[in-house]
Structures are given as C-alpha cells and as structure tokens.
C-alpha cells in the first residue's frame, strides 16, 4: 500500500505543485491548510510522514510540532519542516521542536522528493 503523506501548508499553489509531484511518485497525499486544527488533522489521517510549513494561519509550525512530539499516539511520525527563513536560529528552533528534516524555501521538487523518500525509509 502507498505511504501516506500529510502536507500542512497554507499556500494553495505549493499544495498543488508538491501534491502533484508526490502523487506522481506513487504516494498517497492528503493536505491541510491551517495551523489551528493541524494536530487533529494528523490524528485523523495518521500519516507515515508530515510535511509542515513553519508559518501557518492561526499557529506556528514550531508549536504544532512540539505538541505533536508530546503526543503518544502521533509523536513518532517523521516531520519535514518547510520554512522561508534560512537563519541558524530557525534551524535550531526546528531541531529543538523535533523536526526530522528541515528545508528552506524556495526548494527544488527533486530535493523534497528525495527528503520524503529518505524519511519514509524508501
């Protein structure tokens, strides 16, 4: 069965493009676009991997990730963080919050795909 990836991102055209690339690679892609109920979305979808944007409406990606890591049910899911910032401090914050990988926008589709495969152990 295809691995399930939950893409939490508020930019609709990124959702469409990255969603297309991942589906073309045979992955089952689900999407969610706001920060407020992102944790509920992860619980509901129970994905194999989460791709999480840092700046989301209603709640920051760091906060969501911290809560996710504290949750026994979903805390072990690998998370690929996407951010528009490239400063050392942001990388540090992502690592501290528990990100499995960290990518800075703008990124190449191939780089995202490679990171996703690696995190899924493929």
């Amino acid at each position: 069965m295809a691995a399930k990836v939950l893409l939490i991102e508020d930019e609709p055209n990124i959702i469409e493009a990255i969603g297309f690339v991942l589906k073309r690679d045979g992955l089952n892609v689900r999407t969610h676009s706001n920060g407020v109920d992102a944790i509920e979305a992860v619980r509901r979808e129970s994905p194999d991997l989460v791709i999480l944007d840092v700046m989301l409406p209603g709640r920051s990606g760091y906060e969501i990730l911290e809560e996710l890591r504290d949750d026994a049910q979903i805390g072990d899911i690998p998370v690929l963080m996407l951010t528009a910032r490239g400063q050392a401090r942001d990388r540090e914050m992502a690592e501290r919050a528990g990100a499995s990988r960290y990518m800075t926008k703008p990124f190449a589709n191939a780089a995202v795909l490679e990171a996703v495969r690696e995190l899924l152990g493929q």
């Binding site: 690339v21 944007d53 528009a84 589709n109």
Partner: protein, 441 residues
Amino acid sequence: MAKNDVAASGLAGTRIRERRLLAGIKQAELAVRAEISPSYLNLIEHNRRRIGGSVLLRLAEALGVEPAVLTQGPAAALVSGLREIAARAPERADEAETVEEFAERFPVWAGRLIQSQAEIARLEQSVDALTDRLTHDPDLAGRLHEVLSVVTAIRSTASILVETPEIEPQWRDRFHRNIHQDSRRLAEGAEALVSYLDAAPGEALGAVSPQEELDAFLDVHGHHFPPLERRDGGTVARILDGAEELRSDAARMMALEWLNQYRRDARDLPLDAMARAVADLGPDPLAIAAHLKADAVMVCRRLAALPQDMVGEIGYVLCDGAGALVRRRAVAGFATPRGTGACPLWPVFHALGQASTPLKATVMQATRDARPMTAYAVCEVTGPSTYGSPAPRRAHMLLIPERQPSESVPEAAEEVGITCRVCSRSACPARREPSILREAF
C-alpha cells in the same frame, strides 16, 4: 572621589573654559544647557568651585565630552580609552601595561585608535540592530515568508511543466494559470516588502543612526514630555538620564537641543492654552497662532508635541533647507522614507521655497495603506541673511488624517508618493530617480 582625582580636578574649571571656547559656546549659554547659573559657572571656570556629581555630568554632556576629559585631562581619557581596547584582548594582557606610555608618546595616534574603535563599536551596533530587526520583526518575517512562498510555488510549478512534457492538458492549463496568478502576487508582495523596508522606523525596528535613535526616543514618549509642561520647568537632564534609546553622544546632543526648544515652547504656549485652542479651533496652526497671538512655527511644534488624546491623530515632518527630514512623528496612512529623499511633491517642500506663505493642502500617498491627509506647511527662517547669502530655512508640516464618512478619496486630494524609488507614478515631473518597482516588474 579618589585622592588623585581631587588633585587632578583642581584645574577642571580651566579645562571646561577651554572646551567651551573651543566649541564657540557663550558662558551664559553653557550655563543654561547645564542648568546652573552663569555666576556659578563663572566661579567653576576660574577654579574657585570644585565640581563633581551631576553638575560635572551635565557640563560634560553639554560640551560633548567624557567627564574624565574635564576632571583628569586628555591624557587620562586617552589612557582609559586605550585600556578599554586592551581589555577586549585579555590574551595580550602584557601589552595592556604599555598603554600609558603609548598615550604619552603618541597622543594623536592614541586618539585616532580610540576613535576608530568607537566607530567599529557603532557599526557593530548597527549590524546587531539590523540582524535583530530581521530576526524579531514579525511583520517583516511575515512579508518575507509570503514572497518566498510564492517564489517556491512558481519554481515548483515551472519545474513540473519543464520536466513533464507528457502532462495532461488540464493539468498543464491549471499550472499555467497558477504561474500567471503567482507572478502577479509576487510583484505585489515584493512591492509591499520594498515599501515596508523604505518606510520610517516604527517601534519594532532598530535605530541605526543618531537620527533614528532620537526618533525612537521621541516615539517612546509619544512626542510629549509632561515634566517640561510644568510652569516650574522640569529638568531636561533628568529625562535624558533614563533614555535607553539614545545610545550615541550625537543622539543625546540632538535630544538635548530638541528638549530645550520644547521647554521654551511650553513656557510661551502653555498646555492648557493649547488644549483650549485645539478644542475650539481644531489642529489648524494658523488659526491657533492668530487666536493666541503666537508664532505659527511655534504652534506647529506645540501641536506636534501634544498627546494624542488632546489633539487626535497627528503627523509631523520637519525638513532642513536641503530637504532632509530631520524630525518626524509618524501617523498611520502617510509613510515617510528612511535613508533616501522624500517625495518632492510633499507640501513641506513647497513651503520651503515660500518663506512668507503658509500652505494647506489635501494629500494622499499612492500606496495601499494610505489615508487622505490635511497638510499644513510653514517655512521658518532660522538665521539672518547676509549679503550674497540667503537666510537659512527649514519647514514644518503637520498631517491630520481626514475624517471620511467612507473609504472614498476626496476629489481635491493631491496624489503624492513616499520616495521615488518605490513610487510607480508614471509621468511625474518631480521624479529624481527611476522606480525600482517599474524596473523590476
């Protein structure tokens, strides 16, 4: 005070006098700045009174020198400056022992070294302030994130189109539409970002020049200083003592001058009289000047220094004879540029050329957040004219947001910009440089 300090400060009066004469300041003027009587200053200057504590600090500040320069002489100040530099490299502690000899033998080079170190420290502070601004300004971070997200969407979508020649027509059309849509959003987002970076510093932004330090200091106080409104006259020095925003000596000197002017204005046009005039006549500087039989320029300064609950929303711009913005009170809906020259169409610049004609106009900037403003502009002649040399001038402009029943723009509003760099007006006779917005997009 240590024993050798007492001995050294015996000639402090002579040094104060020398410094004062060097700076071209009259004794009476220095006494006012230091908030002491001229006769007391005279006794100090003739070494008939020993000084220390707050009087010494105020005199040093008024003369723009370190207190040590007055109490211990320049050599001690040099040694102390060099010791500070040496302390930054503790691994070379042995060399620190030679600073006295160095200051004694090469006082000019020692002075230059200290000056260079101060400049490095100032630049480091600027870099820290700018880094801090990028890191902690949520508005800026949000705008950058938006622009980079759109760039990411365009890049990802374009890659798909290039790498997937066999893509289905409906997907191809959809991605073409997305790229078109995103390119427009990118242009708008980048324009907003550039406008934001070019606008004057607000509370969230770090001050990187003495001018900005003073602006930040005035912003923190809402441009209003209740102690200076009292008839017994509050002390300027006390206000400056606690001013964390004024980091450089230059900024403190500028603040001192501005607050002394404030105190004189408050004495001549007391707060209660201004409050009654504003309540009766509105924030119209000419009407208030006529009513109070006062100078219109002083009324402008007083209006710009009133608390918002008394005068309502009000903006203020002061430009010097070269058109440089030297003071500003921000008002929402009318942005002022940082770093570059302001839009030449602002009424304040028209007023600069017409010393005897105050101006009133309705203006509105061609930006997304703009609001129509009533602008009052008055030119001030700040010194005498001499043969072949015109009198120096500066101009004041007050900006009062117009109360509109709706979001409509008044027909009479003249469209103005922030600064040419971020202005997209196509045919502007006053343009001094091409707009980067039009060039880029």
